[in-house]
């Protein structure tokens, strides 16, 4: 499973303005809605489910990275978006540091394998400091898409 197979290009938020964890999640879910990846009617439900998941333990897993996620029946395939915060967001991360890179995932409840492969793929790239560093320097959707393409081992598609 490649990043560009589940990251919704139109929903990428290159300059995430969010004062809190909840803000960040709301903005990213709204962006998925605007891109048509999730139904408008389910926006609130998805935000609530992601916030509920965060109560179990922060998905801020260190290195300035958070992967908020939920399963939700409104999607029939794994969809995700990327948000980059220049200022950093307090995500109650496991290492206590602010997060700058967010991958938000929504996956169908009946396909745990897809969710796991999505997490696997994202984690493999995000443990690479060079990838994280380039990602944090990206300022446009296209920069991010190109970087994800490159990470997928593709030539950047124009």
């Amino acid at each position: 499973m490649k990043l560009n197979e589940f990251v919704v290009a139109d929903a990428i938020v290159p300059d995430l303005q969010a004062a809190s964890k909840e803000d960040a999640i709301r903005v990213m879910v709204a962006s998925l809605k605007s891109s048509g990846a999730i139904p408008e009617a389910d926006e609130e439900g998805i935000v609530a489910a992601i916030l509920k998941r965060e109560e179990l333990g922060s998905t801020g897993i260190g290195n300035g990275v958070a992967v908020p996620h939920t399963k939700h029946p409104s999607v029939d395939r794994l969809v995700a978006t990327v948000g980059l915060s220049k200022a950093g967001v307090d995500f109650a991360s496991l290492d206590g540091e602010d997060v700058f890179i967010l991958f938000l995932l929504v996956s169908p409840p009946d396909r745990p394998g897809d969710h796991l492969r999505g997490l696997e793929n994202i984690s493999r790239h995000l443990r690479d400091q060079t990838f994280c560093s380039f990602l944090r320097q990206s300022s446009t959707k296209q920069d991010i898409i190109d970087l994800l393409d490159e990470a997928d081992g593709n030539q950047p598609s124009k």
């Binding site: 179990l56 333990g57 897993i61 745990p112 394998g113 969710h115 997490l119 994202i122 493999r124 443990r127």
Partner: protein, 97 residues
């Protein structure tokens, strides 16, 4: 002195080693001083590193090798085996994610 201790474990739970179990493994592993790795086939993860654990992409039923070397290696492996055998209980059942 530091002979490696190994044990085989099987991934419980329909969701595999998703983020909650990986966090629990990393937390548990951090209580020990020895080096601990979890291996799936040719891929090895540092048991304290959530990124590497998630990077295993270990689905339900996957066989993994837990290996530790260092002064508290036996205790560490036993503790992680317990964690797997508990099905990450107390946490896993609370989340469908």
């Amino acid at each position: 002195m530091s002979d490696a201790v190994t044990a085989n474990v099987t991934v419980p739970g329909a969701n595999g080693l998703h983020m909650v179990p990986c966090s629990l493994i990393a937390q548990r592993a951090s209580k020990f001083v020895c080096q601990i790795t979890i291996r799936k086939g040719n891929t090895t993860a540092d048991a304290r590193n959530i990124f590497e654990l998630l990077g295993l992409g270990a689905a339900e039923g996957t066989d993994l090798e837990c290996k530790a070397s260092g002064e508290d290696a036996s205790q560490a492996v036993a503790s992680l085996v317990d964690l797997f055998e508990s099905g990450f209980e107390g946490h896993a059942h609370r989340t469908s994610n």
